[in-house]
Symmetry: C2
Subunit: 193 residues, 2 copies
């Protein structure tokens, strides 16, 4: 077995179930560390620094960008969100695996800075199924649904940049496939040298 | 999931437990097809052609060599043994995985002809453990034991030509790792395209 941990990047289109699969995986594999994001937004009630997020001032965050301390970042509704490089690197240096759940564009940015990561694309069983899930969220207008579907179809084309594709047909099966990928990656001869 | 099957080549030094792991794996994964060897030796009582071996005349076997119908072959105590290419290719074309249990040199010959195979090297937990297993077989002389250990040490160096290394510390763990490798390989984006 490799003594170094792995960075597992779990991505896929909006509505595919990344969050649900990631939560299920964390309860099945308690040793798996969850990558904590940095953000400039204010903590909400009950949120703990270093557990839910690393809360940063805007200047601190801009300095992290400047010093290449983020594997990726994005601005959303006036706040910055990003993946601190240090936390990932310290975790894997300690021999632990770390999982990062992230949307498709963010994952591709991570790949540029951290190509040795294991990039897993979670796919819907079919486009109809994905549409049902997006519609099933409730109050979206037809225009929003159409836009989300169009983005999802574009994102599915980016699967070619990933190492693995896992179909999220059934939560336990999807988790089992991801667990298998992690076990197999630790057995790789390249990883062991 | 890929619609094509995979050729899984399970190899490793003499005494590491290839046969035991392979049998256990076959009962855990009933869909896995076992590669049947061709041989020129006479069938023993109860052996069935196409199940235990494909029994061939010497001329037939030589013609298979001539026509590149074997992924590898070797001569042993006056008889030929080899891996028929057709059986492997038909099985994977039908979408089924096939496992070939073979010694280290044979596996490397298979890799030359079938580089798309998944090459798994079964390793002992330690050299001491391997020695115990070789000695434990019983009636070998010290010279035979020393020779086998020396061959095993040389063979361990060939691990670099393999895709995966699986430690045979405990049979169920070794099987679980190999099952994980098979599941992961079916999720590879390359394999799905």
């Amino acid at each position: 077995m490799s003594t170094k941990g792995l960075l597992i990047v779990l991505s896929g289109p909006s509505g595919v179930g990344k969050g649900t699969v990631c939560s299920a995986l964390r309860s099945r594999v308690p040793d798996l560390i969850y990558s904590v994001s940095a953000t400039t937004r204010q903590p909400r009630l009950g949120e703990v620094d270093g557990i839910n997020y690393f809360f940063k001032g805007r200047d601190q965050f801009l300095s992290m960008i400047e010093n290449d301390q983020l594997l990726e970042y994005a601005e959303y509704v006036g706040n910055y969100y990003g993946t601190p490089r240090d936390f990932v690197e310290e975790t894997i240096a300690n021999g632990k695996d770390i999982i990062l759940e992230i949307e498709v564009q963010g994952a591709l940015k991570v790949k540029e800075k951290f190509p040795e990561g294991i990039f897993i694309f979670l796919t819907p069983p079919s486009l109809d199924e994905l549409k049902d899930r997006i519609v099933g969220r409730g109050t979206e207008t037809q225009a929003v649904i159409d836009h989300r579907m169009s983005v999802a179809v574009d994102e599915l084309d980016l699967i070619k940049h990933y190492d693995y594709a896992v179909v999220n047909d059934e939560i336990n099966q999807a988790c089992k496939r991801i667990e298998s990928i992690i076990i197999a990656e630790h057995c790789k001869v390249r990883a062991q040298r």
